[in-house]
């Protein structure tokens, strides 16, 4: 998918520059663009490391366990097929907690473990069941409480208060999440795809 998109982006720019007579700017952009990416990453590295370090402290202190306990009542409603003590429910809990804390490296393995548990219940069928759909939709929504990458990126471009967008991000994330979960619930009866 991205292979075609990327090739198309390059082709479109060359033809567009040809049509608008901006070859000079385009040729500068090829060299500058690649360099910009490296500058960006190096500029952000310190802050990224600081945040992942702090998150690790929270995780090691048992914040994950506390959040999991808080989440249990919500999850019981979303995944009625799995009692709180089942391995699937535990993996789902850990995945969501890791997502909330922005621990991407931990969230994906936990999510895949949850999918494997659910697939076992689903008897290896090739059709997703309602719990799987709910779980994947939950993971396509952004649950991260502190979007550290976004804050770092904003700081890198000279934002006066890089995290001042947080209340707006929380509001939008929550609304989008509710919309997604409602849609997943309401569409359960329909036979799409």
């Amino acid at each position: 998918m991205l292979n075609k998109v990327w090739a198309a982006m390059i082709a479109v720019s060359v033809f567009c520059a040809l049509a608008t007579g901006r070859m000079q700017q385009l040729s500068e952009a090829v060299l500058a663009g690649a360099g910009n990416a490296v500058q960006l990453i190096f500029g952000m590295m310190g802050m990224m490391c600081a945040w992942t370090g702090l998150m690790k402290i929270a995780d090691a202190g048992g914040l994950t366990a506390i959040l999991s306990r808080l989440l249990a009542p919500v999850l019981r409603r979303l995944f009625p097929a799995y009692p709180p003590e089942s391995p699937a429910a535990k993996a789902i809990c850990m995945n969501i907690t890791a997502n909330l804390l922005g621990l991407g490296n931990a969230a994906t393995p936990m999510g895949l473990a949850a999918m494997k548990e659910m697939a076992a219940q689903n008897r290896g069928s090739h059709v997703a069941d309602n719990s799987m759909v709910m779980f994947v939709v939950l993971n396509t929504a952004s649950l991260q409480l502190i979007p550290t990458f976004m804050g770092t990126l904003r700081a890198q471009y000279g934002s006066a208060a890089p995290f001042d967008i947080l209340p707006a991000v929380w509001m939008v994330s929550a609304i989008a999440l509710v919309a997604g979960l409602l849609a997943a619930k309401l569409l359960e009866g329909c036979s799409i795809g």
Binding site: W6, M132, N139, R154, Y157, D164, I165, V172, A176, L177
Partner: protein
């Protein structure tokens, strides 16, 4: 709300470290361990970002992005979203690094604290790379029929894009 923003970071840092100390975590050792992971993830996204930022910079220099933005301007006006931000809404569900590449363009052009910069930040910060996530999760357990996953996930994305402009107006004015 502006005032609230400046407290978020120091307070979050203090809470996390204090929490670790109370729980008898070797805070500094753990911090270093986590920072190592951050460094690794920076290095692992670098090659992707080089490719995509190069392509987006080219698109921008060629005038193609302006063309697309002006083409989509009526839709953007209708949604109360700056025209510059619309390409971001299109690429975010498909590619996270592509979205980052576009964000850097918007931040460089309008500034991160402009209306467009804030709407873009909120949009990108409140959604995930939907298709990547669906592919990874279902791919891992050989699910071929995803039923209503994609419609439901896209409804969530659309909602976020629609509400992002409203939220920025609510918290910051225009």
């Amino acid at each position: 709300m502006d005032k609230l923003g400046i407290y978020v970071v120091p307070v979050a840092v203090l809470l996390m470290v204090a929490f670790g100390v109370v729980r008898r975590v070797p805070v500094f050792d753990t911090f270093v361990e986590g920072a190592k992971e951050g460094l690794q993830s920076c290095f692992s996204i670098l090659p992707t970002l080089v490719g995509l930022i190069m392509a987006v910079t080219m698109l921008n220099a060629s005038g193609a992005l302006e063309l697309l933005a002006s083409f989509l301007a009526p839709v953007a006006t209708f949604l109360g979203i700056p025209a510059d931000v619309l390409p971001l809404a299109l690429i975010k569900p498909v590619s996270g690094s592509g979205a980052t590449a576009l964000l850097t363009q918007i931040f460089a052009k309008d500034g991160p604290d402009s209306f467009a910069g804030r709407v873009a930040s909120v949009m990108a910060g409140s959604t995930e790379t939907t298709f990547y996530c669906i592919a990874v999760y279902y791919g891992a357990v050989q699910i071929k029929k995803t039923r209503h996953t994609i419609p439901a996930a896209l409804i969530a994305d659309l909602t976020a894009f629609f509400v992002a402009g409203l939220a920025v107006r609510l918290f910051f004015g225009t």
